[in-house]
């Protein structure tokens, strides 16, 4: 099977500070991959390098075997969508129009009925229809975060990159939103998600695979049960813990 994403020897520095040190991993279609690690481990920087928000220093990134650097931004945004940690705007923009921006790579000028349908479906998919014609800047942080996730889903890209997408959500919405993302990935033959996240339980419940980052490197890459060991948690987070498996979870996930 062709890799949806292939990252080889990716490195990046902020001046003298080496943030990413020779990152290697692949993502297969249909996979949800979580990136775990402490603050400053390089999770957000890695996602931004993949999305060309920041320019990597060296290494190669391929999406469906296409070199990331050879794509223009429109081509790239058809392959990857992105959910930043937060989005703030100074202007009053309707939620429907924010989600419609996800269709921007597919629209030249006119909004087609297909674009409208996709936006409407996505809003319903994330139970956001009641907010459709409310102003984005007047929503709560959690509601805004869900709208930006809706925008990324409406973009209909193969890989959805998310930087702490549930950080502003309450417990119910964290689980509800992740369930929806998992549903979207499982319903498609050629979509995947790469999610930088702090909540180990959410990662364990929804991820097929976890990349554990420490000091700019991937120190462990595998299924949740392979990665989330007491030893790894102690090494990376400096916390001693006990792993208690919960049976009904996806894959062979664990809880704490």
């Amino acid at each position: 099977m062709i890799d949806l994403l292939s990252v080889e020897d990716l490195s990046f520095s902020w001046g003298e500070n080496e943030v990413l040190k020779g990152i290697n991993f692949t993502i297969q279609p249909g996979e949800i991959v979580a990136i775990l690690g402490v603050n400053g481990a390089g999770k957000s920087t890695l996602i931004k390098c993949l999305n060309r928000i920041i320019k990597m220093d060296s290494g190669s990134v391929e999406v469906f075997s296409k070199d990331l650097q050879s794509l223009n931004l429109i081509e790239l945004s058809k392959l990857m969508s992105y959910v930043p940690q937060s989005v703030r705007t100074s202007f009053g923009i309707d939620v429907f129009e924010v989600v419609l921006l996800g269709r921007r790579p597919h629209i030249s000028w006119r909004v087609s009925s297909r674009d409208q349908k996709i936006v409407s479906e996505t809003l319903q998919f994330l139970s956001l229809e009641e907010f459709a014609f409310r102003r984005f800047d007047q929503l709560s942080g959690g509601e805004r975060q869900r709208v930006i996730i809706a925008k990324a889903i409406a973009q209909d890209a193969n890989l959805i990159l998310m930087d702490e997408p549930t950080s502003d959500l309450d417990l119910k919405n964290q689980i509800g939103t992740m369930k929806r993302i998992a549903e979207m990935i499982s319903q498609s033959q050629n979509k995947s998600a790469l999610i930088a996240i702090h909540d180990i339980n959410i990662a364990a419940k929804f991820a097929d695979r976890i990349l554990l980052m420490h000091d700019g490197k991937i120190v462990s890459n595998g299924t949740p049960s392979e990665v989330l060991t007491s030893k790894n948690i102690a090494t990376v987070f400096g916390v001693t813990c006990q792993i208690i498996p919960v049976i009904e979870r996806k894959a062979d996930a664990h809880s704490y």
């Binding site: 931004l73 790239l76 790579p105």
Partner: protein
């Protein structure tokens, strides 16, 4: 809520917005006719003016002269000037993701003011031909220097929206200091000329000037619309969001700022400093049609032309035969109306 409900609500809303833009356009045209018949020297009435304009009625030589030679150039300049400055304001606010920005923010107008001051006080001009146009040309060429600075800033990949604004403020301070120094050494007549230039007036442009600005705008305005979707993404605030929707924020911002700076300088060179319309018209338009630049640009353009025309007509007639410059009238009339819309209609938020 059914799927089709959301789509139909969106379509309905869009249709209402387009209708509103058409209505403001019609109102502006009707007001232009009224304005052509109204003034200190002769009041013709709306229908008589319309008949003379359409050639259905033979006006007297004096009436024709007043309508076509005296009022038409300033009314055309009000329409195109308002269109240009309001559009430039909308573009700049969107490109920089900042609601406080206006066409004067980047220092283009300050550059023009410096050019005008050098021409008026020191008689120092870059180009000395044609006679009678030297102040306008100097103002325009100095504003182009600022456009050139914007281009150079845009070539720096790491330039942030805030840097553009700060450089604009620095240019404004530098130009302001030089203009103040020139004022210090100026004669009374020069001071008067400089003050008159800085008020922003529609009495200076000739019909040739107004037509020239109109022709340039016919080219520049559609170019602005090409970037509507990019502006929608950029105005969400944040380069990350723009990039993730396929927009290169640095390149797009640079192109849009050059376009809007050119629009501003071509008008301000002829009219002098007119600031308020470029700030207020885009915000008023946002209240009417939202932030989708496909509608916001046309709405700002027509609303800007209406505001400019309205302010100039009031300025011409309120204390006739004394004419209050449009720049002053815009702030006096537009300011309270702008605050009313902001506080009452949008709950204090744009």
């Amino acid at each position: 809520m059914a799927l089709s409900d959301l789509s139909s609500q969106y379509i309905e809303k869009s249709k209402r917005h387009v209708l509103l833009i058409v209505l403001i356009s019609i109102l502006t045209l009707l007001f232009a006719v009224y304005s052509m018949g109204t003034g200190s020297s002769s009041n013709l009435g709306f229908w008589s003016t319309l008949k003379i304009i359409l050639g259905l009625e033979e006006g007297s030589n004096v009436q024709n002269a007043i309508i076509w030679d005296l009022r038409f150039p300033r009314i055309l300049m009000a329409i195109v000037g308002g269109t240009a400055l309001a559009t430039a304001g909308a573009l700049m606010q969107g490109a920089l993701g900042n609601p406080l920005v206006s066409p004067l923010t980047l220092g283009v107008a300050s550059g023009a003011a410096l050019g005008a001051a050098l021409a008026i006080v020191l008689d120092w001009t870059i180009i000395e031909y044609p006679p009678g146009m030297t102040i306008v040309l100097n103002a325009f060429l100095f504003s182009l220097i600022v456009v050139f600075i914007i281009i150079q800033l845009g070539n720096m990949r790491s330039i942030s929206p805030e840097s553009y604004i700060l450089v604009g403020i620095a240019i404004t301070f530098i130009s302001g200091a030089i203009v103040s120094t020139l004022q210090y050494f100026a004669t009374d007549a020069q001071l008067s000329a400089l003050a008159h230039w800085s008020f922003g007036s529609l009495s200076r442009p000739t019909i040739e000037n107004a037509i020239l600005v109109s022709m340039i705008l016919v080219i520049l305005l559609p170019t602005a619309l090409v970037w509507a979707w990019d502006l929608n993404a950029l105005s969400m605030g944040g380069e990350e969001f723009a990039i993730s929707t396929g927009v290169d924020p640095v390149k797009t911002r640079k192109n849009i700022l050059i376009l809007s700076a050119l629009m501003t300088s071509i008008v301000i060179a002829f009219t002098g400093l007119i600031g308020f319309v470029g700030l207020a018209a885009p915000h008023m338009s946002r209240i009417f049609v939202g932030n989708d630049f496909r509608k916001l640009i046309p709405c700002s353009a027509v609303l800007g032309s209406f505001l400019m025309l309205f302010a100039d007509t009031v300025g011409r007639t309120l204390f006739a035969p004394v004419v209050i410059p449009v720049g002053i009238m815009l702030s006096v009339i537009g300011g309270p109306f702008f605050m009313y819309l902001l506080l009452k209609k949008s709950g204090g938020k744009f």
